[in-house]
């Protein structure tokens, strides 16, 4: 299988808390990988590790055959990312913010307009970023990730703060990207209903541990074997998490 991102037993431990626990991910090239888990499951930390924002306590990972920290600049040149909340210079306009990123990436001038158009922010490009609404800031963050159409996208809950029509629009945009310019997307969410609509593969995380990794069909089969109604994957996901939480509580009692 042609994997573009693989992680091996990735672990991140803070003083007395394990945020990511021996996570091994396998993300196929050209696929949309849905990273699913409740709040605090360790999704953002895993993504931060992949971007070099956090150093793993144990384990390793490769992105397109490259490794941190030796290939940091090469890796980051290939990844468009959006983590947790939009990041921007509040004293600059949306267009100026993207211009900064464009210069860092060494892209052509028209890539800024292309990114603004992709997220539907063209007409607000000259407004100061601090005056944007939450949804517009979110779109600006996405535009920053999509700038130059990078081969890998790491998006952490990109539809947070958007209204229903915005969620629909961005979801369709994300879904169309692999076909549009051959990219691989790792997208996180705490809602299976959302991931279900766009992802090819799924990784379910709870308390830092991977509970399931595979295709949506495999998840359905898994659900049937466990006695769940396969058409309701949300229920499957919630049951998996609850089962894991119960097991954890029992282990703690013992």
């Amino acid at each position: 299988m042609n994997y573009i991102i693989t992680t091996e037993q990735l672990t991140k431990k803070y003083k007395n808390f394990i945020s990511v626990n021996k996570v091994s991910l396998h993300i196929r090239k050209g696929s949309i990988y849905g990273f699913l888990g409740p709040n605090g499951a360790g999704k953002s930390t895993t993504m931060k590790i992949l971007l070099g924002l956090t150093v793993p306590t144990k384990g390793s990972f490769t992105i397109n055959g490259k490794q941190f920290p030796d290939d940091r600049l090469k890796i980051l040149k290939e990844i468009g990312s959006f983590i947790e909340s939009p990041s921007f210079y509040s004293n600059l306009t949306g267009r100026e913010n993207l211009e900064i990123i464009r210069r860092i990436l060494g892209l052509k001038k028209n890539s800024v307009e292309d990114a603004l158009e992709l997220v539907g922010l063209t007409e607000f490009g000259d407004r100061l970023a601090k005056k944007y609404s939450l949804g517009m800031k979110q779109r600006l963050g996405l535009a920053g990730a999509l700038l130059g159409r990078p081969p890998i996208l790491i998006l952490d809950e990109p539809t947070n703060g958007l209204d229903p029509s915005g969620i629909h629009e961005i979801r369709n945009l994300i879904k169309s990207l692999p076909a549009l310019y051959d990219c691989t997307i790792l997208i996180s969410s705490h809602m299976l209903s959302e991931i279900e609509l766009i992802a090819d593969d799924i990784g379910i995380l709870n308390h830092g541990r991977i509970l399931f990794e595979g295709t949506l069909d495999e998840l359905r089969q898994n659900a049937l074997q466990s006695g769940y109604a396969a058409e309701n994957l949300e229920e499957v996901f919630l049951s998996m998490v609850e089962k894991d939480n119960t097991a954890r509580k029992q282990r703690t009692k013992l």
Binding site: L53, R72, S81, P86, Y89, N91, R103
Partner: protein, 241 residues
């Protein structure tokens, strides 16, 4: 060079460049007005005319410069923290160390311009108001270099402090505390006090002679290397979490 240009573009609408240019103009105007108004009093002080020109005006100019450095250093990093922009920078293929160094260069270059403006005013005053033949350009240039190098430890220190705190009020408070404690310790003859970067900056202002103190210059150079080195090391080694 590319990082420097990018950093310059980030400074748009922050006021960092205007602030340092403004303090240069303000310092020059202060020197002119003060000398014109107090000309007789100043020239009657029992000091050499060049010592009067350089040391008697420098106190106020130095305080203006000090506060401009404190505020500029706070503002230049505040834009990185305000909208989480620094997080984005860590996720882009940019060398964070060279980003830090570019910020250092921007403040330094603008500060040099401010010092140059202030010294142009002193040249004009010296040539116009000092007794015939008393003005010495070399002495003025030497003192300008001395006052510049003694200001740089505060600049390096404040940039380091600003890069460590998301909340701008912390570095601003540290800057004000540094100024107040520096004022209290500046007249002390104990050499150990020179480890305080604000004391170093205040030294030329409390001296009665325009002659540079070699010990102060050496300590300044060491502190610049120390604080700048610490800032560069931290930007390279510490991760954004």
């Amino acid at each position: 060079m590319m990082t420097f240009v990018i950093e310059l573009r980030k400074e748009k609408r922050t006021g960092v460049i205007a602030l340092l240019l403004g303090v240069g103009i303000l310092g020059a105007a202060y020197a002119f007005i003060n000398f014109i108004v107090r000309k007789e009093t100043l020239l009657n002080i029992p000091l050499a005319p060049m010592d009067v020109l350089l040391t008697q005006l420098y106190g106020m100019i130095m305080i203006m410069n000090m506060f401009a450095i404190i505020v500029a250093a706070c503002m230049i990093y505040n834009i990185e923290f305000k909208g989480n922009a620094l997080k984005k920078m860590y996720m882009l293929p940019i060398n964070i160390t060279s980003m830090y160094f570019s910020k250092f260069l921007i403040i330094t270059v603008m500060f040099i311009l401010a010092v140059a403006l202030q010294n142009v005013a002193l040249v004009q005053i010296g040539m116009t108001y000092l007794p015939q033949g008393a003005f010495e350009l070399v002495t003025l240039i030497t003192f300008a270099g001395y006052s510049f190098i003694t200001s740089m430890p505060v600049l390096s220190f404040m940039l380091l402090v600003s890069s460590c705190f998301e909340n701008m009020w912390f570095p601003l408070g540290i800057g004000v505390a540094g100024f107040l404690s520096g004022m209290a310790l500046a007249t002390s003859d104990i050499r150990l006090m020179l480890i305080h970067p604000f004391v170093v900056m205040l030294k030329p202002a409390v001296a009665m002679s325009a002659q540079p103190d070699m010990a102060v210059i050496i300590v300044s150079a060491m502190e610049i290397v120390l604080f700048l080195g610490a800032g560069l090391w931290m930007s390279k080694k510490l991760h954004y979490e």
